[in-house]
């Protein structure tokens, strides 16, 4: 089985937010909510200062606390590449998954169910890239099978230094940031 993940090159990302707009358009994300967003992390003391710009979203963790805490079985790991998804018609809107996510990647859709990034599974199943990846003007975002050593994402992780977000939370996030 494939294990889908993303590799994002922070040396190329300029924080243009095209990925954010593409996601909102592709997935009809309601006004006032975001499934993906841009983070600017600044470290150092002037003039020795460093800024990392990241496109962030649900990390589709291998050890997803949002799935484990769901009392309805609505949050689940999909057979398609281990993507973490929500069955809208099973969700009671208890918000446990939102409290469980260390990335605050989920929100309650105005219709009442928990919602989040799906890696655009409807596109991936047709062999297309997630909307955010497909529109990136700097080609900093890469999507693919992390279990396939020949995939672009695996080769990038083999050749570059990278980090994930909050690995100490123990969730095994599947989005990697090249540094």
């Amino acid at each position: 089985m494939a294990r889908y993940g993303m590799v994002i090159d922070t040396k190329k990302c300029v924080g243009c937010m095209d990925c954010v707009v593409a996601c909102k358009t592709e997935n009809n994300v309601p006004e006032g909510y975001n499934r993906d967003w841009i983070s600017y992390e600044t470290i150092g003391k002037f003039p020795k200062i460093h800024q990392e710009i990241r496109s962030e979203r649900c990390n589709h963790c291998d050890n997803p606390p949002c799935v484990y805490c769901c009392p309805c079985g609505a949050s689940h790991i999909s057979d398609t590449g281990g993507i973490v998804l929500v069955h809208e018609d099973k969700c009671s809107g208890c918000k446990a998954c939102i409290a469980a996510c260390p990335y605050n990647a989920r929100y309650i859709h105005p219709e009442g169910y928990a919602s989040k990034c799906t890696f655009c599974i409807h596109r991936v199943e047709k062999g297309e890239l997630p909307a955010c990846v497909s529109v990136c003007p700097t080609y900093c975002m890469h999507f693919g099978d992390l279990d396939d050593p020949q995939s672009e994402v695996s080769k990038l992780l083999d050749s570059r230094k990278f980090h994930a977000l909050l690995p100490e939370a123990g969730t095994k996030p599947q989005i990697y940031y090249l540094v």
């Binding site: 909510y33 983070s39 992390e41 309805c72 009671s92 409290a99 469980a100 100490e168």
Partner: protein, 315 residues
Amino acid sequence: MHELINTRHNLQIDPHLHIWGWEIAVYLFLGGLVAGMMIITGYFILTGRTKNTKCSCFLIPIVGLGAISLGMLALFLDLEHKLYVWRMYLTFQWTSPMSWGAWMLLLVYPILILNALLRIPEEIGAKFPKLTTISEKLNGHQFTVKFLGAASMVTGGILGMYTGVLLSAFAARPLWNSSMLWILFLTSGLSSAAAFVHLVSKDVDERRMLAKADNAFLIAEILIIVLMFVGSLTSPQEQQEAVKVFLGGSYTVYFWVFIIGLGIIFPLIIQMASVNNKIRHTALAPILVMLGGLILRFVFVFAGQASHWSTAVFK
């Protein structure tokens, strides 16, 4: 400098999590109160106090039924997809404390109802003679009565623990993610229940016994809180930062004045004096204990949502 800015501003999520409001705090308080009531009822039944017709063990299950129903109503009001609440009862997710809790609540009801049936109030018995017949049958079997007492204690214990485990299972919220939370909430539930029974009991000896028991629970609560602070302050940085909301942070006054001062120490002093016959029994102490228990749930529900792994880096 180490600064993090992001472009997200999701409702209820940013600038910090605030998905759960008064409903969850009230539910956790009432759940703990009913858990304590069940443990006290079970103890009264197992120690043969049912022979005393004034025993509160006949009243508590009826109040408990009302309290747990109110708690479940609060929980229901908190749901965002209310019409899908039944989905919780089509599955059992063993990794989800909330799923355990949902099923546990269904077990609490029959036990409370059977406990209430042990002694039917005369007015109700006159209207529904069938209930009196069931009550007589139940009381006819000592084993059944003892079993009900034991079941009440065990179920109450699990319910009380669950109210803490529900929050402590969220590793993403360092303040909640403490192995002491279940015992703090269980002890606080027992303390609130003892205070409630103390308040409503018609039996002088029972009131005195419950005031003494409540003193023990309040002292235990202080010890547990001290141990919780020791545990958090000797843990990794995110835990240290999380507990600082009570040590100079935004919840310091609520915690030390309303929970520790007015909810534990002040009523403890009053009850110590009353059980040692220095002053008369007063309703003030149990009322303060219950209010303290309620504020404890509010403070933990709100402060816990504000705590996050990133606060270890970005203060």
